[in-house]
């Protein structure tokens, strides 16, 4: 036993799906010492979440089976326990927190009620007053401000970070020995993520619990873990102490993952000479000029739908985007960066202000007047699921805009052009004759890029195009983007929240906070010497691989 709290030996988990058996977890072994953290890291579909759910036996009945393996928790094999025995372990000795703070709390109960219920379930002898006392302590423990007043709040009254704190408070109320955290910070902004990670480390020091931490982010791993297991297709390919695995990776897959991180990607030679490019671009007029742009959404109340206030999504923003540069727009969720991108393309009507593309005013134009200008500016989206029309062949998606704008003289010529575009984004030409559901997420993002390129635009807004992708796919897309930019002398407005991507890709960086631009300048300067306090806080919060 020698101090190991959890030992997983040769665990296999098979899942039944559509009559096929999928080996989601394939013969994995690891152990977690008391008071330490074990991180399972891997790309989507590698089986890390299924491993965690296997440990706490939360996989759906009848679908999951364990052909072999044992899960020793304090020397007891969890796989051999019956339902009532496992229920006694769950919650009181092993607790779990999930990724999505918006859906993991019950919206019709107050947070106090939810924590008290969990407490009294495992300690039936506890009186109401006592349970309330303990709940209050738990809320204070996770550093929720004014915990006393928050007891009777409903989940919707809390922010995402606070909800995740409540989830942690609920998990810790019964003082478990093991906490399983399944991507607990993935849905949060970096600044909030930094706070939650700090809180979890502090709680671990205070209570001496062990953690099984699941993530895809190596930065988070380096901050949290003593032990790391790297998963690939249901197998743990490498396991060891954190510093050793991250610094001297032995398995090629681990090396490949680490190399794909944007901060480790080799920059192409052209970006090195970025300084000269910037010098020359200052002289000419910028491609896009935004002046005092406001996008306000009215809040209407009452019988007569009177406008009582506005949501100031974009507030008095002025910005120049020089020809041929990649401008990164950074900020946390809800800061208005997406709205700004859409307002530039006239997908959102600005409340006031001016947007000029090559000296031509875009605001106030009718749909007809705007159509010829649409050729010059395009957009690529975040979500690979919804960015392509599921009912249309890729061929139709690509050729229809060409037809409308009179590119190519006949259909054959347009198909030829579309095929060339697909080759441009490193896909096969005959993918033209397929439907979107036949492609993986990374391939769909490439097709999305190809669609943005169909009209031969000068300017593309990329709205978080890599944030739904795994790191290795993200690396490929970023490299593709740089090579296309060079071929076509494209100007990009790259909206993202990932600082690593910003540093790799962009020439200039613009930081947005609560609808306003707080800082802008050359990327190296912003990332190296941030001036504004918010930028400093943002950069500090980024979990970096500490090597």
């Amino acid at each position: 036993m020698n101090g190991q709290l959890l030992e997983v030996r040769n665990l296999r988990t098979h899942l039944q799906a559509d009559g096929r058996e999928v080996r989601a977890v394939d013969d994995i072994s690891f152990s977690i010492p008391k008071g330490e953290t074990f991180c399972l890291v891997g790309e989507s579909g590698s089986g890390k979440s299924v491993s965690a759910l296997s440990v706490i036996r939360l996989l759906p009945y009848g679908i999951a089976s364990h052909p072999s393996g044992e899960i020793l928790f304090n020397g007891r094999d969890l796989l051999k326990l019956n339902d009532s025995e496992i229920r006694a372990v769950r919650g009181s000795q092993i607790a779990m927190i999930f990724q999505e703070p918006m859906t993991s709390l019950n919206p019709v109960l107050t947070i106090g009620e939810q924590i008290t219920e969990a407490l009294q379930l495992h300690h039936p002898e506890m009186s109401d007053a006592e349970a309330e006392q303990r709940t209050m302590m738990a809320l204070e423990q996770v550093q929720i401000p004014y915990a006393f007043g928050r007891f009777r709040d409903y989940p919707h009254q809390l922010s995402g970070g606070q909800r995740q704190r409540v989830m942690i408070a609920m998990a810790l109320a019964c003082e478990p020995q093991l906490l399983i955290a399944d991507e607990p910070t993935t849905a949060l902004d970096v600044t909030v993520q930094a706070e939650i990670l700090r809180l979890m480390r502090k709680l671990q020091d205070d209570t001496g619990m062990s953690m099984l931490f699941i993530t895809h982010d190596f930065g988070v791993v380096s901050q949290m873990a003593q032990w790391v297991g790297v998963m690939q297709q249901g197998k743990i390919v490498e396991v060891g102490p954190c510093s050793e695995v991250l610094r001297k990776p032995r398995h090629p897959y681990t090396r490949q993952l680490l190399a794909a991180l944007p901060e480790n990607l080799a920059k192409p030679a052209t970006v090195q000479s970025q300084h000269q490019a910037e010098q020359s671009s200052i002289d000419q007029t910028p491609l896009l000029q935004i002046r005092n742009l406001k996008v306000w959404f009215p809040i209407k109340k009452g019988l007569l739908r009177r406008i009582v206030d506005y949501v100031r999504a974009v507030d008095e923003v002025s910005l120049d985007i020089p020809q041929g540069q990649i401008v990164a727009l950074v900020g946390e969720s809800g800061c208005g960066k997406t709205t700004l991108g859409r307002a530039v393309l006239q997908l959102e009507k600005p409340t006031s202000g001016s947007i000029q593309l090559q000296g031509q005013e875009l605001t106030g134009l009718s749909a007809r007047e705007l159509r010829p200008l649409r050729r010059k500016m395009q957009i690529a989206f975040q979500d690979p699921q919804s960015s392509l029309n599921p009912r249309l062949l890729i061929e139709t998606t690509l050729t229809e805009p060409m037809k409308v704008h009179g590119i190519g003289s006949n259909h054959e010529q347009r198909i030829e052009l579309a095929g060339r575009l697909l080759e441009n984004v490193q896909l096969k030409r005959d993918f033209l004759w397929r439907y979107p559901h036949e492609f993986s997420g990374g391939q769909r993002q490439r097709i999305g890029l190809a669609r943005a390129l169909t009209l031969n635009p000068e300017f593309i807004v990329c709205d978080e195009i890599t944030s739904a992708l795994d790191v290795s796919v993200q690396a490929e897309i970023l490299q593709l983007l740089l090579s296309i930019r060079q071929q076509r002398n494209l100007t990009l407005l790259f909206i993202t929240h990932n600082i690593g991507v910003v540093e790799y890709l962009s020439d200039r960086t613009v930081v947005m906070y609560k609808g306003k631009i707080v800082e802008q300048g050359a990327t190296a300067q912003i990332c190296g010497h941030p001036q504004h306090p918010y930028t400093q806080k943002l950069l500090e919060a980024v979990p970096r691989l500490l090597l």
Binding site: A17, G47, V50, R375, S386, P390, R391, H437, E438, R451
Partner: protein, 393 residues
């Protein structure tokens, strides 16, 4: 794990495959198919005149001579539909071509088909038609309005009891064969279901689509309009119109259609509100595509599936409305209809089971069949159900 376990079928092909998986939907489609067959070929299935005969060496087809304008048009439309279905064209083009073809057929038929004005069924049993070399009769040798006076029919006779001639489902109060009337009544049930729903669908899609896409003030006015139409009691409106303007099948179709579109409009509106924010619609806007393409190519096909579910239930509802009206004695006067037969069953002083069981069963089966189809369709497009076994790995 397989890299690409995906098939090459299109979105609509996948929906169709999933819809057709169950047993219930096959039963439903088989019944509707039977109705269509009966409705189209009714004059050849149940008629008093021979399909073909040879007299004194001259071969003739009396059925074809007596084919009415309506019969010919229905036949023509059916074959146009078959031909268009075989063409390799887009769905919208096919529908347009079909509608065009059926209108042209209607004009041509009205110009050129001149059937005899007066049909005396007794003649077909006289020597002129009976005393021939050979003749082929339809499977049911009685027309729906052939009251068999020459045979001395007293009406309301149970199946198989009449001597000399068999009536598989008995006779109704005027002495006509019930099975023959059942077959010809398929037309009313089918056409009222499809045309009334078609009218409702057209209005619903246009109003709902405009509300969903433009939202704002258009949406607000549209929703008020929807609420107004939802408050109109269809049955009482029908009764009022029948009282004022007399009985007409086409008026019924229009009234049922005009009062039942509000549900469809709501469906389309919700779908469009959702689709408007989808990235591919935004990309279409950003590419400067014209509004018609955005609405009909990028939005409507993606939002049409829940609508079709509603339509299959709506067709059943329209059939019931017509049956109710006929049952109340306010239906079409001389054309046979299932509801009108039920009415006879109730009004008669004695209980004639065959007058209640057969038309009642047909109405029940038809409504049931459309519901089965609608339900299978709903299951096929419901992503929740299709993902039930899929654990995200």
């Amino acid at each position: 794990m397989t890299e690409h376990a995906v098939s090459r079928e299109s979105f609509s092909a996948r929906i169709w495959r999933k819809t057709l998986e169950g047993v219930g939907v096959k039963v439903g489609l088989a019944w509707v198919g039977l109705l269509v067959f009966a409705a189209v070929f009714a004059p050849f299935l149940a008629n008093s005149m021979p399909l073909m005969m040879s007299k004194d060496g001259v071969i003739s087809a009396p059925v074809l001579q007596y084919l009415s304008v309506e019969d010919t048009w229905i036949l023509a439309t059916f074959f146009i539909a078959l031909a268009v279905y075989r063409l390799r064209l887009g769905a919208a083009k096919r529908i347009l071509l079909f509608l065009l073809g059926s209108v042209v057929a209607a004009v041509l038929v009205n110009l050129f088909v001149k059937p005899p004005v007066l049909v005396i069924y007794d003649d077909f049993r006289s020597a002129a038609y009976a005393d021939v070399d050979w003749r082929i009769m339809p499977p049911i040798p009685y027309a729906p309005t052939d009251y068999l006076r020459d045979l001395g029919s007293k009406g309301l006779e149970a199946p198989f009891i009449t001597e000399g001639h068999t009536h598989l489902m008995g006779t109704e109060e005027n002495g006509a064969d019930v099975l023959s009337r059942m077959i010809h009544a398929c037309r009313i049930s089918l056409s009222i279901g499809l045309i009334a729903s078609g009218i409702a669908l057209l209005i619903g899609v246009v109003v709902g689509g405009l509300m969903g896409y433009f939202s704002g003030i258009v949406d607000m006015l549209g929703m008020r309009l929807v609420e107004i139409f939802e408050d109109i009691p269809t049955l009482f409106l029908l009764l009022t119109f029948v009282a004022f303007f007399g009985r007409s099948l086409y008026m019924m179709m229009v009234i049922i259609g005009v009062t039942s579109w509000s549900g469809y409009a709501r469906y389309v509106r919700t779908e469009f509100l959702k689709l408007r924010k989808q990235d591919y619609v935004q990309a279409a806007v950003a590419s400067g595509l014209p509004l018609t393409s955005i609405l009909f190519r990028h939005m409507l096909p993606n939002g049409v599936a829940p609508l079709l579910v509603a339509v299959s239930f709506g067709v059943a509802g329209a059939i019931l409305s017509e049956a109710t009206l006929s049952f109340l004695g306010l239906g079409v006067v001389d054309a046979p209809s299932w509801g009108q037969m039920l009415d006879q069953a109730v009004k008669s002083s004695t209980f004639n089971w065959w007058m209640a069981v057969f038309p009642g069963g047909a109405i029940f089966m038809t409504v049931f069949a459309y519901n089965l189809i609608g339900e299978a369709f709903r299951d096929a497009i419901d992503p929740q159900l299709s993902r039930k076994a899929g654990v995200n790995t």
